[in-house]
Symmetry: D2
Subunit: 217 residues, 4 copies
């Protein structure tokens, strides 16, 4: 019902997470109404395509121009500021599903180790999902770390407390556990489960209550 170039934009916005056709339409007209906004967005998106890469160690996004690397290094990939930060604890590695999880953990100021961003979760419905995650890279990285510090290395499986997050953590545990044979002090841990802030016993689900009882201290 709208001119094709508008409908095309609406269709793209409709695929955005959590957006239906109605809000996508509002987005399209928001862009149309503000003079210059379409041009600015287009330009910013082109910049995105050309300048954003991924940290070669933790796989968070990385602006390649600002990475302080020579063009040659850039091609071979670089490390992000956090991975290059000498104050981080090298013996702790948090495995998270996506960059936003890492950002939220960073905001707490309580975690001082390094991260590994999987880039997704293992879905029981998608047999190919393990291949889409950075699992081989994780295995390599853990092995290297164990060679350097065999007596002091811990991987924290910091996945969501959801079915998919649990499946993913279990899958990774199965992959990494064999390394314990050669490195018996290698630790694999999961985030603590229990009552979250504000939880009320009357309304808590039974699994959370069981966890809260088991993990009491």
């Amino acid at each position: 019902m709208y001119p094709k170039p508008i409908q095309n934009i609406i269709d793209l916005f409709t695929k955005f997470p959590g957006i239906g056709p109605r809000q996508a339409t509002r987005f399209a007209f928001h862009v149309l109404k503000k003079p210059g906004l379409a041009k600015e967005l287009a330009m910013r998106l082109a910049v995105l395509e050309n300048t954003i890469g991924f940290c070669n160690q933790c796989f968070r996004t990385l602006e390649q121009n600002d990475s302080g690397l020579t063009p040659d290094e850039l091609t071979r990939g670089g490390f992000c500021a956090l991975c290059r930060d000498s104050k981080r604890e090298l013996s702790l590695l948090a495995v998270v599903e996506k960059e936003a999880d890492m950002q939220n953990l960073e905001k707490t100021g309580s975690f001082l180790g390094l991260y590994h961003i999987l880039g997704g979760v293992i879905s029981p419905l998608d047999q190919d999902s393990p291949k889409k995650l950075r699992l081989r890279e994780l295995h390599e990285r853990v092995k290297k770390n164990l060679i350097t510090r065999p007596e002091n290395f811990e991987v924290i499986l910091a996945t969501n407390s959801t079915a998919e997050g649990d499946t993913t953590a279990m899958y990774i545990e199965r992959i990494l556990s064999p390394l314990k044979e050669n490195y018996p002090q290698f630790k694999i841990s999961r985030l603590g489960r229990g009552l979250s802030l504000g939880a009320e016993l009357e309304y808590a689900d039974h699994i959370t209550l069981k966890n809260a009882l088991t993990n009491r201290k």
Copy 2:
């Protein structure tokens, strides 16, 4: 906390209607994750900027390439398909706030007249708001129509049933009413007020109930 090119995109998305920083971040990573999406969006937005104009009569959006007009006509502006449709009733003109209102009215199949899109509302807090609306164009258009069909012309002020919609309708009525001196049969109407579909008397607000009583039939 994110690389600047990503943060720039997040900032633009945060200004989209109804979007906060969290969802804007999800949008940015949605774009980053799908290969080619940033490029496609950028291209579609550039097309938008270059091909979308406005109908010279009703001011809805119009794809200029598809308007069936010669390049010369394009410069002078063209009429949209609805304005050129000989089956529409020329004696009925619905004045709406924005194109989405028109689209929703069209979907009912109950309105056969033409439209005039104001491009906004009059806000009591923004003294300049009347200047931003297509009011002069409306006045011209109504005058021309009254010359052609002095005995049969009606303007329906189809604004929202909100404070701003009512203010806008009242303002337009004040502008158009003087034309009644020369054209006593010129009609200015407002959409009917009363119970909407699903309304329950127990919970209806008092103004709606008053309207429903007054407009009973």
Copy 3:
């Protein structure tokens, strides 16, 4: 799981409109915790059972002790204050589903006629539902009114704008319409339909928009 006397109360509260077992439990413990509340509630409920009747004309609830009637009149039923109010317009009769609808209409201060409370709606799923409404009483009342003021009497079918409300209004119209043969000036009306306060054209449903267009003025 709770002692039987508590569980019995929870079960009764669970049947209250909009209340699930969880909130019903909170109610039961609210009653248990406040000393004297159970006793007070029990007493008030006994009073309810013994003192509340219904107005013999409009069928709203009526406290029989306060009705200013002699014991004999009480047995034969009495009229509520509104029905006895000489300032009300006798030529207007609003038929509503339930007393709460009447109360909300009264609060508007815009309706000066009398009421008839049906005591429910006609449900297409419940064939007996017409029998549960005060339809015979309505028919009698309308007939009497038409004898007294044949040239000036209007029934407003003030049912909800829902499927059941519409069915009920249609049903009543079919019952009352034959009276127009003898009383051609007898009017049966329905509450006005259209945009309710705050309605936006972009989001309005199509039936409401059609009504708003048809009932424009």
Copy 4:
């Protein structure tokens, strides 16, 4: 606006937890409409008042007729079925805010100890709130237990993960801790804190994330 006996009931219902005047009105008419309901409710409430007491040990509600006690025992108070159950672990005592918390813990089937119901929380705004809780009874009970099993007794402070729940737990800890001097193996624990079922790292609050990191395992 409603007859006084109805308004009185509405007023009582309006004080029910989470109920406003509108829903209270629906409750009153629900009671009025069902024949016999007012009478049944009144009777059930009177029964409540006369038969419900509290377990003399854990303070949950208790139906005195069904407690299997002689009238004389009744006067001196009795123990509930759970407190008399020989299969429960006597070395574990969960202190909860209210009976509904206990019921939800019981449903998990994971807790086999006994309970102590405080009957509320300590509110920083209500200086008298500690006096309203069964704290002296708790202290007595813990002391007796420590005499019987000095080497094996644990109190789990199972309060909500809210500001008031935390204040209450801290307050109780301060009261019970001095007992550790004589009984160094006396354990006081709190429910585990961390991710609840379904929690997502991206949206988790910082305190919960900190707890989840600290309590990882």
